[in-house]
């Protein structure tokens, strides 16, 4: 569904993405991991057209996304830091996005709104919300339009354990429906039962892209953080 070819992005002298090529398919749940500043968020922003690559191209559903916008109706995005218009209430924000994005005949998915019990807080203004509640609103908006592709940037950061479990259950449910999900997270244990593939970025370069089963077999470990620790050890040993 998503194919990136030689995507390159520089911010001044800093090379944020160094000819990244990868492909993601339907039904996969992919963890995008890497140290801080490795280009994960920049890559996601390139996918959404928020950052425009210097060279290379990205296709979503076989269509080059350069300067187009229609493809975004297949994407639900939950940003790392959710920023909303301060003066609007939760209800107004959700209604606004719904009003702007809604197409006649489209079915909406309000499961998360119910699961997070957001209707109880509908009247609260965005500026008064805690970081976790903002994340909840952001998650609801990402899932609202039943997109085929979900892009979640640090979804569990700031969420309490209950909310985090609700969100994970929701991701698993969508995965079962054959959707493509891209997740970045630093908390590898959060990703354990969710992901089927790992993409590892470092200093803007793609280090590897492999299925979790393959990696588990290679390293002989079951837990993701153990797997990653093993890989890092092997890499340093090779040097």
């Amino acid at each position: 569904m998503i194919i990136a070819t030689n995507v390159q992005k520089k911010f001044g002298r800093l090379v944020a993405l160094d000819s990244i090529s990868l492909s993601c398919n339907k039904g996969q749940t992919i963890a995008l991991i890497g140290p801080n500043g490795s280009g994960k968020t920049t890559f996601i922003k390139c996918l959404l057209g928020m950052v425009i690559p210097d060279s290379g191209f990205i296709t979503v559903n076989q269509e080059n996304i350069h300067r187009t916008w229609e493809y975004r109706q297949h994407i639900g995005y939950m940003p790392q830091i959710s920023r909303f218009p301060d003066n609007m209430t939760i209800e107004q924000v959700i209604d606004m996005v719904r009003d702007i994005r809604y197409k006649p005949g489209q079915q909406l998915d309000e499961e998360l709104i119910e699961a997070f019990d957001l209707t109880r807080m509908y009247g609260k203004r965005m500026r008064t919300l805690s970081g976790g509640t903002r994340q909840k609103v952001s998650a609801c908006l990402a899932f609202l339009f039943k997109p085929d592709i979900l892009i979640l940037d640090e979804p569990t950061a700031g969420l309490d354990p209950v909310a985090s479990e609700i969100l994970k259950a929701k991701i698993l449910k969508e995965k079962a429906k054959g959707k493509l999900t891209l997740i970045t997270s630093h908390v590898l244990s959060d990703l354990d039962d969710l992901v089927s593939e790992l993409i590892y970025l470092q200093e803007g370069q793609l280090r590897f892209h492999e299925s979790v089963a393959e990696l588990q077999k290679k390293t002989g470990e079951a837990k993701l953080n153990r797997v990653m620790a093993q890989i890092m050890l092997q890499k340093t040993a090779q040097r």
């Binding site: 911010f11 922003k45 959404l48 057209g49 928020m50 950052v51 425009i52 300067r67 916008w69 229609e70 493809y71 975004r72 109706q73 994407i75 995005y77 940003p79 920023r83 909303f84 218009p85 301060d86 003066n87 609007m88 924000v93 606004m96 996005v97 009003d99 702007i100 994005r101």
Partner: protein
């Protein structure tokens, strides 16, 4: 795009700044008509004040609003919307709000107290300047990432067109006093929307005779059909070119 205009307009109208602006304009225009016996003089004074206030408020308000709606814009760029439509929507929302304030603050008092051609042309000039300076403010807000810098650029543009430019014109006039500069003056007035508005107004008020030979030439040039059309075209240029640049830049901006 209509929906974006709707939401930004609703957001702005909830803002107290725009209410205060409306009230200020209304108080100024009503009190001027109360104080002056001669309504033509009142229109003249109102013109001088509105040529100062309207561009200032339009440019500052639009710059600050654009920076403050960064969240709104960020939320919507990830949605299936064309980027240019997004900025157009916010821009048109801002102008609509400012024009509503202008209609309430200047338009209605003029309609009630001085429903003449000069009153109408004062209103139209202020409306045009609102759009021109919103457009310039949009450009400076899109070009600079830093809020303080962006507001500074807008203020500086206002200052330039209100004071510095006139200073430069005077300097040229005195330095080149020995040469016939009348046509050059017409050309120079095109480069400043505020001057263009002022000249248009003065000609409406039939006091161009007080401006000497240049005034007669202005009357001759701007008074005929060709001159009037040229002024309108130049004004439209001032309204559209900055915002078109802003939108072009915005399409390629990393957010």
């Amino acid at each position: 795009m209509k929906k974006i205009i709707k939401y930004s307009l609703l957001d702005i109208l909830r803002n107290r700044v725009i209410l205060a602006y409306t009230a200020l304009l209304a108080v100024v225009s009503i009190s001027l008509f109360m104080m002056e016996d001669n309504p033509a003089k009142a229109v003249m004074s109102l013109m001088n004040i509105s040529l100062l206030i309207v561009p200032l408020v339009s440019s500052i308000f639009c710059t600050i609003y654009l920076y403050n709606s960064a969240e709104f814009i960020e939320l919507l760029v990830a949605q299936p919307i064309r980027r240019s439509r997004l900025l157009w929507g916010v821009y048109l929302g801002m102008i609509t709000a400012l024009l509503i304030a202008l209609i309430m603050g200047i338009g209605l008092p003029l309609l009630i107290l001085q429903p003449t051609v000069s009153g109408l042309s004062l209103f139209l000039t202020s409306a045009a300047l609102t759009i021109v300076f919103s457009s310039l403010a949009t450009l400076s807000a899109v070009l600079t990432r830093d809020k303080a810098k962006g507001i500074g650029v807008s203020l500086l543009l206002w200052f330039y067109f209100t004071f510095i430019y006139d200073g430069i014109v005077l300097l040229v006039l005195f330095q080149m006093a020995d040469y016939p500069l009348e046509t050059t003056m017409i050309g120079m007035s095109m480069l400043n929307p505020i001057d263009l508005g002022r000249i248009g107004m003065l000609l409406q008020l039939d006091i161009s005779a007080m401006m000497g030979l240049t005034g007669a030439l202005f009357q001759d040039f701007f008074g005929n059909g060709f001159g009037a059309i040229l002024v309108i075209l130049v004004m439209i240029g001032w309204m559209t070119i900055p915002v078109l640049f802003a939108i072009r830049r915005f399409k390629n901006k990393d957010l």
